[in-house]
Amino acid sequence: MKIAFTTNGTDWDARIDPRFGRTDYLLFYDEDSKTMSSVDNREIINVEHGAGPKTAQKIFDNGAQVLITGNGPGGNAARILDQMELKIYVGAGGMTVREAYNAYLNNQLKQGVNNA
């Protein structure tokens, strides 16, 4: 399973960025190969509208099946994520990636609602 995190850094100690579309980084953890990769998303600051869908595209391109984030995506992003058959977990804002991953493993994160 490949898991995507919205983060403010590129390692296990980075914090979860509560924002979805305008997150600074996307971090991907591949549970099978136990490897981590990241995507710098900071150029999103130049996007006027539609930051959510653009970030969703990157998650798709990296082939994640699970997303762990903070507040949960807004309407437009939620619509895209819905199409991706992605499991979304919210409420991890401010945790480190490690804490968020453990919380996910222990079923302590809320499942996000796609109500777009």
Binding site: G50, P53, N76, R79, I80, Q83
Partner: protein, 286 residues
């Protein structure tokens, strides 16, 4: 004659003035009132009238035709609004982000993105005596105020002809939406309050309307609070002050219950009548 009623910020009494002025005028002449504050139209709260027509308003956005698509991805490349995504073997269109520029549709080599109607919002047309009231409301999540404002103006022009006045309750602020609601108006009435907030926002609104080259007048609401700075500003900028509505709790209470002010507050009615007189004295278009 098209009269836009605008203000630099929300909550200055723009809707109160628009509704009361239109209904007062309608006692003696045919008028229309358009609520163009399409994100948050509230004029309807104050007007109990018979509904004449209800319409769902549309605009055109592309729709993906899977069968003819070659998945070349050109559509996603040309869209500058992030409204089209290519996710693997799927093309996803997000109407909320689409500006209806038609580029993706017309540039698609396979013709796989025909333009189709999508819902913008609802228009409601009411009639009460000599007043036609038209309000439009954007769907939640739809951000395209401009096309809905344009269509509402167009609707009223064709469905409510021969009016002495068409009053437009404009969106607050100085954004594109305000420009859309005012750019072809004959005259603009700016509503403000005699406070530093009111003065600051009035300044922005005046600057915007001058940019559009509009003749205008100012109406001051809640006179008695604040200070004289707004009056002094109007004097130095040579802006006529057409009305000064008193600050009374009674008026705020009537407003809160969705009631009209002028039938119950004489001082308010006098100011309205004087505004109508000023309007009558404006030079008429040929």
């Amino acid at each position: 004659m098209k009269i836009a009623i605008a203000s630099g910020k929300g909550g200055t009494g723009k809707t109160t003035l628009a509704v009361n002025l239109a209904l007062r005028a309608a006692e003696t002449m045919p008028v229309a009132l358009l609520d163009l504050d399409v994100e948050e139209p509230n004029g309807g709260i104050f007007i109990q009238a018979e509904i004449v027509e209800q319409r769902t308003m549309h605009r055109l956005v592309p729709e993906w035709d899977e069968a003819s698509c070659t998945l070349c991805g050109k559509c996603a490349d040309v869209c500058r609004f992030n409204a089209i995504l290519k996710l693997g073997k799927k093309i996803i269109v997000m109407p909320e982000l689409c500006h209806s520029c038609h580029a993706c549709s017309e540039l698609c080599p396979a013709g796989a993105l025909p333009m189709r109607e999508t819902v913008l919002g609802k228009l409601r047309h009411y009639r009460l005596g000599k007043l036609d009231f038209v309000e439009s409301k954007l769907e939640i999540g739809v951000e395209m105020a401009s096309p809905l404002i344009g269509q509402t103006i167009g609707y009223a022009e064709s469905r409510c002809p021969g009016k002495s006045y068409v009053f437009r309750d404009c969106p607050p602020g100085t954004s594109c939406a305000v420009m859309d609601a005012t750019k072809d108006a004959d005259f603009v009435i700016l509503v403000t309050e005699p406070t530093p907030f009111g003065l600051h926002d009035l300044g922005l609104a005046v600057e915007t309307m001058r940019h559009l080259g509009k003749p205008m007048a100012v109406v001051i609401n809640r006179m008695g609070i604040g200070n004289d700075d707004v009056l002094r500003y109007c004097e130095s900028e040579r802006l006529p002050v057409w009305g000064k509505f008193p600050n009374r709790r009674e008026i705020a209470e009537l407003y809160s219950r969705g009631e009209l002010i002028y039938p119950q507050v004489e001082a308010f009615r006098r100011e309205l009548d004087s505004i109508l007189q000023q309007l009558e004295s404006l030079p008429r278009q040929p």
